[in-house]
């Protein structure tokens, strides 16, 4: 199975991976609409910076995924492709996956009315190559067999 490989030496802290991720997970998949007119999705990757280091980190899609184990209602599950994804209609925002994720890559979206929403990399189900990888100008993110 392929996941996004992180080559931190090539990362220049441009945040284009986050931009691409937001657009890909927006309603319209249009950059202007995604950032200015629609409710902006949370980026599934997160860029960390500590000069001169920077790197973008996202879900590693564990074989024995602790987030799935911790999920109280099966919202966190493995899809047919083998990637760990959130069923948004089920997630209740209890943050047990945040508590469990060994990579710290599950984010909290608290904008829904009743239920919070755990947000994480879904390895772009509508694409052959994830949006962040395609957007990276410097091969700091590559889509490779693990």
């Amino acid at each position: 199975m392929k996941i996004v490989k992180i080559n931190e030496d090539n990362c220049i802290y441009c945040h284009l991976c986050e931009v691409a991720c937001v657009v890909e997970h927006s309603q319209s998949k249009d950059i202007i609409k995604a950032f200015k007119r629609e409710e902006k999705p949370t980026a599934r990757c997160g860029v960390e910076f500590n000069y001169p280091l920077s790197l973008s980190v996202m879900c590693r899609h564990c074989d024995d995924a602790p987030c799935m184990e911790a999920c109280q209602n099966g919202a966190m599950h493995r899809d047919d492709r083998g990637y760990v994804v959130v069923n948004e209609d089920k997630c209740v925002g209890c943050w047990m996956c945040v508590m469990a994720c060994p990579y710290g890559v599950i984010k909290r979206d608290t904008r829904r009315d009743v239920w919070g929403l755990s947000t994480k990399c879904d390895s772009c189900p509508d694409r052959d190559v994830p949006a962040c990888v395609e957007a990276c100008p410097n091969n700091a993110l590559m889509f490779e067999e693990i």
């Binding site: 980190v57 602790p66 184990e69 911790a70 209602n73 945040v98 508590m99 469990a100 909290r108 693990i146």
Partner: protein, 418 residues
């Protein structure tokens, strides 16, 4: 092979999934005294106040066709009353005998109800399963003032939920703070404030000794002598392993069913997992019941794999809890309140972070407000990671991968170290 599982919740379901990963042929039977398909226990307070109902998929632990898809026969609404290990069968409440080759006991916990006079009165509830939740939900229109006994996870959550619905709520807690084993004083202080903001009255360091009333509870008497007018009481003092039907069997029991590293009891054809067992706590280095959902899932999975002889060890666990009260989220893990260890803590704008370290290993943490990357600390506790060189960065709100040593970070993120 005939596999029988007593219990239809987290541990049992994860065992089924583990078995079926490799074994599509063995017969699996699941016995449960509950009629419902596996549901989410942590959602019961939400269920009571109507945030979620039986009609919603969100309420359930697995999809409707789970049993069919995994070729599982269910015996729902049936209670296992006795196990006969020599003849390898389980007797049900209708005297039916269910034969097994391998048995998994995953029947969970039951609410602990402390002795108090008047506990049989109408209006007195518990909240650990759907039956109790249904009863409380049906009674909800009658409830004006509710006394919640016990400020644990269930007690605090239902107090919050009822207060939001406009019910007058008094929370009575024996210790000096709510969520006693889960938080420290500084952490619990945030919960106290949130609950008070919602109108919950807190009575700490006190307990309920008597419930008064004719048919329905009218008044609650505390050990301090104080009385509270209330027409409902929810007892949420905690859960204990449900040992009813193993009590007079040959299965070794202490506080919970004793299991080895393979989730196997002293009888090698009988396994146990979840809230009913006492398994190894790697932080305090001894066996004890830790009734939390992620460990029930892991133990159930390990039991399932070993039922089909996969020889997988349970590495041990420790308590981890995540709860949101009012507007604040809390995550805690391991040992959270002790003077015996090195303590790092910081309180800043809307955030509290605390870490306990022993022999250069992280053994516990509290995160309040900012719970980002909590699981990275979970990993460090579970893997007895040497934190001596990185612990100074734990108090930073932006704690993350950038603070790790490069070689280690690359190996971890490439999944070369699990």
């Amino acid at each position: 092979m005939k596999i029988v599982i007593i219990g239809n919740s987290v541990a049992g379901i994860n065992a089924v999934e583990a078995v079926r990963e490799k074994d599509k042929i063995s017969e699996i039977k699941v016995i449960s005294d509950e009629q419902t398909r596996a549901y989410s226990h942590p959602l019961l307070p939400n269920f009571v106040v109507g945030d979620v109902s039986r009609a919603e998929e969100r309420f359930y632990y697995r999809e409707r066709n789970f049993y069919e898809k995994h070729n599982v026969k269910t015996l729902l609404g049936r209670r296992a009353v006795k196990i006969f290990p020599k003849n390898k069968y389980v007797e049900l409440d209708n005297e039916e005998k269910v034969d097994y080759d391998k048995l998994l006991i995953a029947c969970g916990g039951k609410p602990f109800v402390p002795s108090m006079k008047g506990v049989e009165l109408n209006g007195v509830h518990t909240l650990t399963n759907i039956k109790a939740a249904d009863k409380l939900k049906a009674d909800l229109p009658n409830i004006e003032h509710c006394v919640v006994v016990g400020g644990g996870l269930i007690g605090s959550k239902i107090a919050e939920k009822l207060a939001k619905k406009g019910v007058k709520v008094t929370l009575v807690e024996l210790m000096r703070r709510v969520l006693f084993p889960v938080l420290d004083d500084a952490g619990a202080d945030y919960v106290h404030k949130e609950l008070k903001n919602l109108g919950v009255k807190l009575v700490l360091e006190d307990s309920v000794v008597e419930l008064k009333g004719d048919k329905r509870v009218k008044e609650v008497v505390l050990s301090s002598g104080k009385t509270i007018k209330a027409n409902s009481v929810i007892v949420a003092v905690g859960v204990r392993p449900n040992l009813d039907f193993v009590a007079d069997s040959d299965i070794e029991v202490n506080k919970g069913i004793i299991v080895n590293d393979y989730m196997q009891t002293n009888i090698d054809t009988i396994f146990a997992a979840g809230d009913v067992v006492e398994a190894y706590d790697i932080v305090i280095s001894q066996k004890r019941p830790i009734p939390i959902l992620p460990l029930a899932a892991r133990q159930g999975r390990v039991a399932g794999l070993n039922i089909i002889d996969s020889n997988v060890k349970y590495k041990g666990g420790f308590p981890t809890n995540s709860i949101t009260i009012g507007n604040i989220s809390f995550i805690s893990m391991g040992i959270v309140d002790s003077d015996e260890f090195e303590v790092l803590k910081i309180k800043k704008d809307g955030e509290y972070r605390k870490f306990l370290i022993h022999d250069d290993k992280l053994i516990g943490a509290i995160l309040v407000g900012n719970i980002e990357k909590a699981g990275m600390f979970n990993w460090m506790i579970q893997n007895r990671f040497d934190v001596s060189w990185i612990k100074d960065t734990f108090l930073n709100s932006d704690f993350g991968w950038k603070y790790f040593n490069k070689a280690f970070r690359v190996l971890r993120l490439d999944r070369k170290i699990k």
